[in-house]
Symmetry: C2
Subunit: 509 residues, 2 copies
């Protein structure tokens, strides 16, 4: 148990913070070694025929580059280095600067922008109603916005990758948005920024740091409280646990017991070969942790992206629970794999050993400033014990990158402690949306902080669900959540234009 636990502990702090993607890689890897991955391809999660509107069509999106400043906080001639930052505009619905229309801006997160344009349907879905201009901005160092050639090259350059952080990214967004306003002669058009997961943090922080640029923010599934000790370490895994337990007590018990079973079988002389056979691995297992990581990643991914209409947790548990009577624990777990991953000739436990941009980038980000202490004790979750150990984490990052993480910087720069006390009388116009089945909701803002810093959540929702494209099959609670969010944003925009009229009137007179 201990052995597996300690192995699992290595990847837990690096759980992926991505909204949906057609290819979800779950970033299960050792932070201190070469990344090991167990990505899960889930192209079947969103059915294109199920899309409600046809608002989002690729031919409506036009790509641009902004000549971006590499370092916004330094006046060394070298820091004047520029790089091309990609942003994409959809002006199909734009009512023009004089039509009281807003700009909806999607703030890119830890992935190339292309995938998000496909999936973040909230913007095009609501563009016709608001006559909104849509802007999607890529996060520095991802996709086409890499300062120094390829991402691989940039990440090997110590001096360059130092600029790969959230404060610089927010300043990028500020510059691009002011540029877009200028380009569209839309000085007074209000901007609503939208982001999910890490991008949701960026959206909320952007409204707080740049209120003169963004009128409001929709921060979907943003675990802004997963820093320092604000959220208990086991917040994430407790919700994974709860998700499975609520789905089926039997399923939960089976998973919980499986880790020691794996350990036990592995400890036999031909144990790994037995496990390889029982789990139909494409290549023979070389350690029990390969299997454990693969399974743990599957369970957390199912919980995090437990979206309708498939509800992968139910799918997985149905495999486990409905296995023929007499099937043992590992047999049931394997039935879960088959139910979740569908029937395959073999299961590639180590598939995609080439890390994705997200894997590479997010590992850097967590090893520099985005230190989110995630772990758990021995019996408080579905997983074996795996406490977060900050000194070990720092040591690992130092040996990988030569720099120590700054674990308290996020709360120094953005706050987070006593959030209600601080923000009940400061700031405005942020929606913190969450789905309570999403393990990251454990570190989300789940109560209203003030009249306009609002928590909008659903009991059944999963990660970033509200900002994905509306689908015909969406359940009523999801439709209602999106409707509420749109009404709140509509209120901000109406109030802004009323304020603007008075402002102009007073300035004229």
């Amino acid at each position: 148990m201990d052995r597996l636990g300690s192995l699992l502990s290595l990847w837990l702090p690096l759980l992926l913070l991505l909204c949906f993607s057609t290819s979800i890689s779950s970033a299960v890897y050792h932070p201190h070694k070469i990344p090991r991955l167990s990505p899960i391809r889930r192209t079947n999660l969103r059915d294109p025929d199920d899309t409600l509107t046809k608002a989002s069509r690729s031919e409506d999106f036009k790509s641009y580059f902004y000549e971006q400043t590499l370092d916004h906080f330094n006046y060394n001639p070298k820091s004047y280095t520029k790089f091309n930052q990609s942003y994409v505009i959809n002006s199909k619905f734009w009512g023009g600067a004089k039509s009281n229309s807003p700009i909806f801006a999607y703030l890119g997160a830890e992935a190339p922008l292309a995938g998000d344009i496909e999936t973040i349907g909230f913007l095009p879905d609501n563009a016709p109603r608001f006559k909104a201009l849509l802007v999607y901005i890529e996060h520095r160092f991802y996709g086409n916005s890499v300062p120094h050639g390829s991402m691989e090259k940039a990440m090997k350059n110590k001096a360059i990758r130092g600029y790969f952080n959230s404060a610089q990214a927010l300043a990028d967004y500020a510059e691009v948005l002011m540029h877009v306003k200028h380009k569209f002669s839309a000085k007074n058009a209000p901007i609503i920024v939208v982001g999910g997961s890490y991008g949701g943090m960026l959206a909320s922080w952007f409204r707080l740091k740049y209120p003169h640029i963004a009128l409001g923010a929709l921060a979907s599934s943003a675990p802004v409280l997963y820093f320092d000790d604000i959220t208990p370490q086991n917040g994430y895994d407790s919700i994974v646990t709860k998700d499975f337990k609520e789905e089926s007590e039997h399923c939960y018990e089976t998973i919980r017991k499986s880790w020691s079973e794996i350990d036990e079988v592995a400890s036999k002389s031909n144990g790994l070969s037995i496990l390889s056979k029982r789990f139909k691995t494409c290549a023979p297992l070389s350690s029990p942790s390969e299997l454990a990581d693969y399974l743990a990643s599957m369970f957390t991914t199912a919980a995090q992206y437990n979206a309708p209409p498939m509800y992968p947790v139910a799918e997985l548990c149905s495999g486990i629970d409905k296995a023929p009577e007499g099937t043992d624990i590992l047999g049931r777990i394997f039935a879960g794999v088959v139910s979740f991953r569908k029937d395959e000739s073999c299961y590639d436990v180590l598939e995609n050993t080439i890390p994705s941009e997200t894997d590479i980038g997010w590992q850097w980000q967590t090893c520099s400033e985005m230190v989110m202490p995630m772990g758990h004790g021995s019996n408080d979750t579905i997983f074996p014990s795996s406490p977060f150990n900050l000194p070990d984490f720092i040591k690992g990052c130092k040996s990988s990158y030569g720099v120590s993480p700054r674990p308290h910087w996020i709360t120094t720069y953005y706050g987070g402690h006593d959030i209600k006390l601080i923000f009940q009388r400061f700031g405005s116009n942020i929606i913190f949306s969450n789905g309570l089945k999403d393990p990251y909701s454990s570190a989300g803002v789940r109560e209203n902080l003030s009249d306009s810093l609002l928590a909008v959540y659903t009991a059944k929702g999963s990660h970033c669900l509200d900002i994905l494209a509306a689908q015909k099959s969406d359940p009523s609670w999801l439709v209602a959540q999106r409707k509420l969010e749109v009404e709140i944003i509509d209120g901000w925009i109406k109030q802004y234009y009323a304020d603007l009229e008075i402002f102009f009137f007073k300035n004229k007179n």
Copy 2:
């Protein structure tokens, strides 16, 4: 006229942004050449016997150093360089963490901290009432807080001086204040930040960017709107003009006409020698601009620091107006010099050619981010025409430092445009205090932005007057201004402690 005008134009954008100091250097110099200075020593401005309280005694202040991060926004191993930042604590009045007491933090500006500790009496004057802990923090690159040996050495190092900017300085303050809270076990003690002039901008920006660290800000004489085109270029000089005109129409007319007189005399074959004699210059003048700069600096300094009980504008005009009948314009101007500077054997027009730290530092700051377009047309002020020319300014900075200023960065990062429209529904707890005789009040916030973003000004006040030590001779309007400010701050603190009680109660239950 044109000649003098263009010479004067060179120093106008660099007018000094300092609260009172026993030695005021007016930073009259060419931004593009080696600094030329015309400092004015005014040790007589504040009379120590006139001090109202004895709260501020040097033995109560203890000096410390904080190991500060050179670059807060970069994770390059090199940026982990540390430097010692000086801060000073007075805990004489501190009621302790459990006494509902606040921390008053003075945010250093473009000068060594030592001078401010002597003069910024607002903190010790009010410490007994609030049982406040007092913290004064030095601004990076000044005084004892220079990252790379001496300031001279640091400023010659292109890589090091790049970190000399406001965003880095605010992050410094954030770290030091969190450190001080920790040191005094005062996690929940509210912090009120106080600053004057440039330091006042920092105080208001600090509350906006770090609301989780500062509960409120007193931003005295902070020209936060002197960026881009928010304030007319001639705002500063228009108020200098108004100050003199309101003091005496005759004085104003005399000064206004003097520039062409200087030009005319200088154009004669022995003109410079005549001028040198008439103005009793210690060394012969080598150009009329030496004299003009000296005089212009005297007029602006008198206006900016037009404090009771002396009221230097009145002092100066009394010299000009009361000169014997028949005295010509230049004779009257000289009488003004004598009245303002007192009777000297000669007047050192080029005194202090060694630039002060403030001169060196502020020139860099204005040539990087603090671009404040100050100038005026041909007949709109007391001075000859001298419009601000951004391309020339940029060219000069580029040739001095090898970098272009970023003239729009301040409004990008902190805002400023349409300030009422933006901040009427965002932020809280800032007092923008101004004295309307202060030329910088032209770019101050002079109307309430919301219920707690407040403009507190006096018609007769000058630069930073409210945060200087209270004196027995203070006029009633100044006493009233300070009283109002203290009441507002008291309200913030009381509300905070009421909020805190509810917060604790809810978190316990």
